[in-house]
Every structure is written in structure tokens, then in C-alpha cells.
Symmetry: D2
Subunit: 288 residues, 4 copies
């Protein structure tokens, strides 16, 4: 059973695969009386990397998180691990970006309001003002930062400054409709999630529903992925599709697609917030 993140410590580990990793880690946890409520491993046959996520009941541990981290260093060194021990009670700071379309933003804010997403929604940044009222209703600060198409660089400097002030753990592009500059992609690497309204790699780029209509596909999809410099080519976190037919005009593909965009983005954000995602090159390991 996936337990609540509160009162839980998440141990994320990555290292070259070899015999004894799980034994060493499990032994360490057990020695400190840790009660593991969920554990997942994956050994990637292509890269030879091993990935592990364990959820440990914080109140079961005989030592503090800080002492755990310190003591774990020796295992990490022995196995050439990178690791994180994350306090599941710590709420990540999330900044949402939106434009004019409300469906993804409403969905994320609503899920957050009913505690489906455990995080601090610290702000919404938009290049338009139409969604300000929605943010006000959900009590999330709204920042309008216009993007001047002739002065994109300057516009995004304002975005960058605002982000510096907000200090987000995660950025979600909830149908932002602007290409995130490469500087920001690097600065927040593996911490910017986008929703693309197609089943990538099909129909990358602009107007995917038009492309889907012209190609005559029988299913349309949506893809959430980490944003990288290479447009629409970042590691995919989640995808889904819905059936369409010749009867659906482009406007109807867009309507049907909205239902898929919403859930695909929400699942990806949830996976990230629960520390379930590892990035391995252009691929992801998602322990869902």
C-alpha cells in the first residue's frame, strides 16, 4: 500500500548495479529499526545502473534523519551511490505557469485544494491576466509577466528574477504555450514538467491537434515530460490516449484532448512530488 508521505522518509538511491546493494541498504535500515512501507528497485540492462526507492516510517527509526544521512555515507561510498533521504512531510514549493487556457490549471489547483497533491502552491505565473481570478479563488498568488514576442530575452529575465524570489522545487508548465528558455531549462533541470498535447514523439512542435487531424490518427494523446533544451524531447514521465474518429473536427480533438492533458499532467506532477521519478538519459523510471 502506498502510505501517506507525511511521517515518511523517502530514500532514493542510484548506483552501478552489483550484488549486495539491497542487502546492504536493507540491513542498514533494519539495524536502525526502520519500517519500510514501500520499496521499489530497477536495474537498467542498458546503462547498468541500479535505482531504488524506499519509503520508511519516520517514527519507526531509532535515529534522526540527519544521523541516518551521516551514517549512510559509508554504504554510499562503498557502492558509488548518489542518494537522497527526503522528509516526506517537507512540502515542496511549486510554481505553476499558465497562459489563457484554464483546464490544466483548474485541475491542478483543485487537486491541491482537496489534498490530492501535497505541496505548497507558491505562485502562478502567466503571460496573460485571464486566470488571475481563478488563482485568487484558490488563494494562490498570481504574477502576470507579459512575454513580448519581440523581446523574449528581456521578458524571460523578469520570469527568471521572479523564480529566484520564489525559489521553487518544481515548476509546472500547465499549458504555458511559451518555449522555456534554455537557461531556465538548465537552471531547473529535471524540475520543470511540461504537458504536450500529443502522444510524443508524434506531432512534436506547434498545433499537434491539427497535425493529428491531417494525419488521420485514430487515437490522440498527451505527454508530460521534463523540459530540456531540445523542444518536446525531454524524458517522458507519463502519457495517455483517447479514441477519436473521422467524425471529430479539430475543435473536438482539442476538447477531447483536454481530458487527457489534465490527468496526464496531474499524474506526472504527483509522481514527481512523491519522489517516484528517476531520470536515466532520455528515459524515466517511475515507481508508481
Amino acid at each position: 500500500m502506498k502510505k501517506k508521505l507525511s511521517n515518511t522518509l523517502i530514500l532514493k538511491i542510484q548506483c552501478p548495479d552489483r550484488v549486495g546493494i539491497v542487502a546492504a541498504v536493507s540491513e542498514f535500515i533494519a539495524q536502525h529499526k526502520g519500517w519500510v512501507t514501500e520499496a521499489n528497485y530497477h536495474s537498467d540492462p542498458v546503462t547498468g545502473q541500479f535505482y531504488m526507492r524506499s519509503a520508511i516510517r519516520a517514527d519507526s527509526l531509532a535515529i534522526s534523519a540527519e544521523a541516518f544521512r551521516l551514517a549512510f555515507q559509508s554504504i554510499a561510498k562503498a557502492f558509488e551511490m548518489t542518494f537522497e533521504l527526503i522528509d516526506g512531510q517537507h512540502k515542496q514549493r511549486v510554481v505553476l505557469f499558465a497562459s489563457k487556457e484554464s483546464h490544466c490549471l483548474t485541475d491542478l489547483l483543485h487537486r491541491w485544494s482537496i489534498n490530492e497533491l501535497s505541496c505548497d502552491m507558491v505562485a502562478v505565473i502567466s503571460n496573460h491576466e485571464v486566470l488571475a481570478d481563478l488563482c485568487q479563488f484558490f488563494n494562490v498568488p498570481f504574477h502576470h509577466i507579459a512575454i513580448d514576442p519581440r523581446q523574449k530575452k528581456a521578458s524571460f529575465e523578469a520570469v527568471e528574477e521572479q523564480l529566484e524570489r520564489l525559489s521553487p522545487d518544481l515548476i509546472v508548465l500547465a499549458r504555458y504555450m511559451q518555449i522555456f528558455p534554455s537557461g531556465l531549462c538548465e537552471r531547473y533541470s529535471s524540475r520543470v514538467i511540461n504537458i504536450h498535447h500529443s502522444f510524443l514523439p508524434s506531432f512534436a512542435g506547434a498545433k499537434p491537434y491539427h497535425q493529428a487531424y491531417d494525419r488521420g490518427v485514430k487515437l490522440i494523446g498527451a505527454t508530460s515530460h521534463y523540459v530540456t533544451e531540445a523542444l518536446d524531447e525531454g524524458p517522458i514521465i507519463e502519457q495517455d490516449v483517447i479514441r477519436v474518429s473521422h467524425r471529430h473536427a479539430i475543435s473536438e480533438l482539442a476538447r477531447l484532448g483536454r481530458d487527457i492533458e489534465r490527468v496526464v499532467l496531474a499524474r506526472a506532477v504527483r509522481h514527481h512530488l512523491e519522489h517516484r521519478v528517476f531520470v536515466s538519459g532520455q528515459r524515466t523510471i517511475v515507481f508508481d
Copy 2:
């Protein structure tokens, strides 16, 4: 309810859209006492073309099919229609192409054997001999025509000659793994159905499961389409997908994919055999 094709006449019509088409056609059918058991229309907003398929109980008609065709000419002319009146009892001649993999071939032959597909399976042509026994079990003639990679042109002349003898109404490439030469594509235009083991247009070309693995997609798919000269770009008839994850090696994507390939190909073949498909440029209208 979709009635059985036996005892049914299928009227397929295509013409520029305008007022009064359905009225004229329905009036004509009713005047000859035709009982319509299924009817579908579609007006394509992009091309301005109108498509119509009606299934008429043959025994309800006061005139013969031949007389119907003759009398219908005046309506066809008035509306600039192309039309077909097809005897649903007429079994189409189907030639299957296969290579070494048995899953699609077994599936199609089995469906045919239990009358899920109403047609004459006149032959299987393969560039390998491994599936000969399977064809024998189902009592379908098997022709081994090797494709010499250094002499493709000559090899396919043998295929072409065999096809001339077999005179197929429909050709199905059930994982044939050979590129159908453009001459045959033209000769049997909109009568050659292929199954491609990806969700096209993603991963066109060779080794789609490898491509899917490398890209890290979360769903894999299959696509059945009419074969055209432009490889993997023919009009799509049917598609479907199945969920995968980081845990699946390429061999497992292939295994999971086989289940999708089978049903997607079988549905496309069925739609074609029931005269439910219209081709409109690179798109299809499928009255399912």
C-alpha cells in the same frame, strides 16, 4: 444492430456534399421497398465530400441488384456520385502475406475459421517456409516465394505473377517484413492492408520497439493502414496501444505489442471486408 453481411446489399456512395443527397437515396431505396438495416453518413468539412454507406436487406428489395444499379445511375449522375452496390454474400478473395512470425497469421486464420471474418482465404504467400504447416492445418494454400535481397525486383515479379493468378480482392501483410514494391502498391491501391508495430506516425521504419524503448514512451501501439508508395504513410484504418513501463525490456515490448498487432490488424481487415472504409486523401472514414 449490425446485421450479417449475408443477404445484404451494401450501397457505398461518395459525392460533393449538398442538400438532398440522403433524401434522394432514401427515397430511391424506399420506392423499391428496400429495408435499410444500417446507415451511416459523413460530411467531411475539409474536402466538402459526402460519404454514405447503407446496408439493405436483399430480400426486401422489389428489384434485382442489377436493376438497382441501372436505375440508380440517374441519381448518381445528378449528384456527381461514385457508387458501388455490393453483394454482401459475395466472399472477397483474400491473400495473406507472412514471413516467420505466426501471431498475426494464426489470428486471422483462426478468426476466419470461426466465421469472424467472412471471406475466401485463397492463399498465404511467404518468403519463408516455417508457416506452411499452419496454413495446411487451416486448409489454406501456401506459396513460398523467397525474396532475394540482391534481386528484389525479380523476386517480386514472381510475387506479382502469383497475385495475378490469385486475383485477390484484398491483400493483407500480416507481418510480412518486406517493403511492398510501388508497382504492387499502385496495382492494388486501397486493397493492401499492412500492420505496423508502432503507433504511427511515431517510430515509422525499422525496429519500432527499439525506437520506442530508446525514447522511453509509456505506451506502445500498433497501426493498420493501407499500403502506399510512401512507406508507413498510408491512410490509417485502426490503431491501439498498451501501457508499458521502464521494467519492460525490448523483447517484452515485442511480446506485449503482439497482442495489439493482432487485434488492430483483425479489426482493419474486418472493416475492409464489411465495406466500412472510405479513403479520403491520407485519412480514412470508417463506419464501424
Copy 3:
């Protein structure tokens, strides 16, 4: 292509099946220059009833809707039809019922706000006050009518009175969590849509997610149906499911189920508002 309802007249017909219905109706429409943008038929083999829905461009008709209705009477009589000619521009009055859970209500109000649902949201009625702010945000009047468990009859008289004042065309129980009294079921027959959080007929009644967990099903679902006196047995309009596993606790079934409830209810409401649903005993015909 499904055209917008505005500027459209919807003709809904039901009658015993026989030869010539489509011809007579199409001829009538064509004679008055009606441009049919969408047409669907169904002949039910069990009941022998014929169902038909046509969408006609209002501006193409040479006569008024009123004149159409009048003139159509002779055809209706000849074929023993019941029929409706509905002005697609007429916005139906919708009253939503909710309790404490916000997901279905937020979803419906949001879809309405972006014109996915074409109707007048005239009021939300709730037995609790928690969703009042949400309704205010969307500018929909909110009526709190408490349901006293010891005085249900009296409580629902207040509901009934409010409904009389509101005069709804459609009532939607968006997770209302109260059994609608049989008097109201009758009064608004085939005009009250409920969402049940299971794949009916499985797990009818209370606590379906608990029932699903106990039974160990591998998929959970949601069902939207017209409300009848027999609890959870009304005609089903739409259903869908989502995959679950042993890893999901009941609370997680509920979370995953909310995503299905939302879309299933929204699709049913949309189908009803677009006059796409016919009720035939305990079954529905949905021309989607």
C-alpha cells in the same frame, strides 16, 4: 463532423421500425431545403423500435421551426412517431446537486465556464454549505437545503419546492450522496442524471470502493445513469474504468475513481444536453 448546437435544429424521432421511415423524413427535410449536418439511426432488434436523430442547419430551412413541426405531423401520424424538433440554441436549465465533495461539481462548472457544456447553470442545491464559495466563483446561485435524516420527507419537500421555482430541464446529481425520493424521480423522469462510483451493476449501493477492495477487482469504474425509483438500476448513459492493483488502499481507489467519475458524468451530461440519448426500457441509445 459534430457541428455546434447553435443555429441547429435537432429532430428526434421514435417509432415502430418499418420500410420507408428514413426516406419519408429525409424527403420532408430536403423538400424544405434542410441541410443535415449529422444523422444517426438505430433499429432495436429486441423492441422493434426505430430511433433517429438529425441535426439540421436552421438557416438552411425554407420554413420556420414552428411550420416544420406543424407540417411534420402528417408523417408522424403515418409512421406512429413520437418526435421532437428542438432549437439547439435554446439553453437548457440545469440544476446541480452536490454534497461535500467538490470534484464533480468543479469539473462540471469549469466545463460550463469554457463552453464545453452549453446550458444555463441555474443553481446548485446542496445539503451542506462547503461548496458555496465555489459556486460563487462561477457565478451560479447556491441553495443550501439541509437533509434531516429523521425528517427526510419534509427536507425533500423543500427541495421539491425549490425545483418548482427553478423549473429545470435537467437535474444532475454530482455526488449528492442522498437517495432521490421516488416522487422526484417520477416528476423528472429521464431528466435526472446520477454518477455512481462503481462499474454498475457491480457494487450497487453504499461504499462501492470498499466493496471493490474487498472483492479484489483489478479495475474500478464509474457509471452515469438516469435516476429511477429502483436504486442504481436506471438506464446507463456512460461508463468507464481505470486499472488498480493490490497496492491501492481504499483511499487510493477513491482518489483514482474521482478521475473516472468526473469524465463519465461530464460525458453523460453532454450527451443529454445535445439530445443524443434515447431511453429504451433499462437501456439507452446514445448517438455519440
Copy 4:
């Protein structure tokens, strides 16, 4: 990555949940140089039971399987475990039961023939003779044991005797259409898999497609489950559904359902053969 079962030892464990299980087991495996290629745990919050499955590369172990079993006894005792160490190379003996319908039997035999299912197909038992040729084609012995409806007890004694001779590890009812007697259910408890052609618990019992049609559901399904004395109430292993509509007659529900029955049964058989299933009361844990 799910590795091939060959060269693999599967360790299945069940015990009351407590701290240190994974550590003790992992430590034991590592101490004997075991390379774990796949590991799954589940802690059931309702029963308090812990379930674990590990796949270990046999050639990595410093001791024999027999020595492993012996040495592991002390851990098993300490944690009150029941455990199995299974040689993945050992092919289980599978007996298939069928009646007249060929789709599930063909599917299972075909998958076995292309090594999708790793087992010995030791026999097919049928109450009819129509599928004898199919079994001969796949080189699987066919036993015709008629079931006399007036003498079911005697008929099933013949079945029981045949099963004694065949000594199966797994029995699969591939649309057998006979109620398995309770004696056999007990004798082969958790080793008899059935496919029921509905989304259980909906439409248990006879003629589920008729029931589904009458109820007007919008999806039909199939369920594979372990057979128990209580008909159609055994622990569910796998389920799936397919969309249907008012247009589908009962015969078409049956046709569409066959595609679901096949894959649902095949997945369940595969899960069982790979030792991925634990039974917990009426529920299953499937480590897929």
C-alpha cells in the same frame, strides 16, 4: 527488467509483517552471492501479511538450491514464514480444459508454441471432440471425456482419474463451460484458473453477454480467477474490458468479448506460471 525464468530461482515468501524481513532475506541472498534481478514486496494493511517475490540468477549463487532451502529454514522460522524456492527452469505441467469454442485454446497453444508461455502442455481434456485436430496440430495429447448431464458425478470421476495420471501443476479452464466439482476445486486449490466472460462480480453465472445486453452496459469484460467451490467467486487474477454500444447485438458482444477473454486468460496463466501470484483470502497479489 523481467529476466527470463530460465537460469532463475524464484523465492516466494509470506509471513506476518514486521521490521527486518527484507533485510534478513536480502542479507541471506547477498551472503550467498545471489544476484537479484527482480524483487517485489507487498504489505497488506488489512491482513497484516507481508508478501515477497525475488528472482535470483541461479548461476550467481555460491550454493545449490537445495542448500539454499536448507539454510533458509532458520530465517523462515524466525519470521514465521512460509516460503518456496522454485527452479525457474522447471517446466510446470499444464492441463487445459476446453469445450467447443476454440478461441482461448488456440490462443494459449499458440503462445506456448512461440515460447510466450514457458510450461509443458501435457494434455487437453474436452467434453467434445471438435478441438481434437487443433491439439494434434500443436502436438498436445487430447482426451475426450464426455460429461453426461444426468451422471455428472460419474463423468467427473473419469476426469479426476485422468488428472491423477497427468499430475498437473496447473489446470486452465479455457472456456470449459462445465462447473468444476468441489472435490477437484479443493484437490487443486489455487491451481485451477478459469476465464469468465464478464467483468465479475457483474453478471456471474450463465449467459453473461445476454445479461450485459439486457442491462445495457457500455463496457463488457472478462475475468480470470482461481476456481473455488463458490461459483465465479474465486480470487480474481486479471480483468479487462472493451467498449460496446447499443449498436451491438448479443452475438457481437460475444465476438468482441472473445478478444478480451483471450488476453485476460493468457495474462493470468502467464502470471501464475511465473510465480507472480499470491492468494490472500478472496484477493490476489500479482507482482507483474
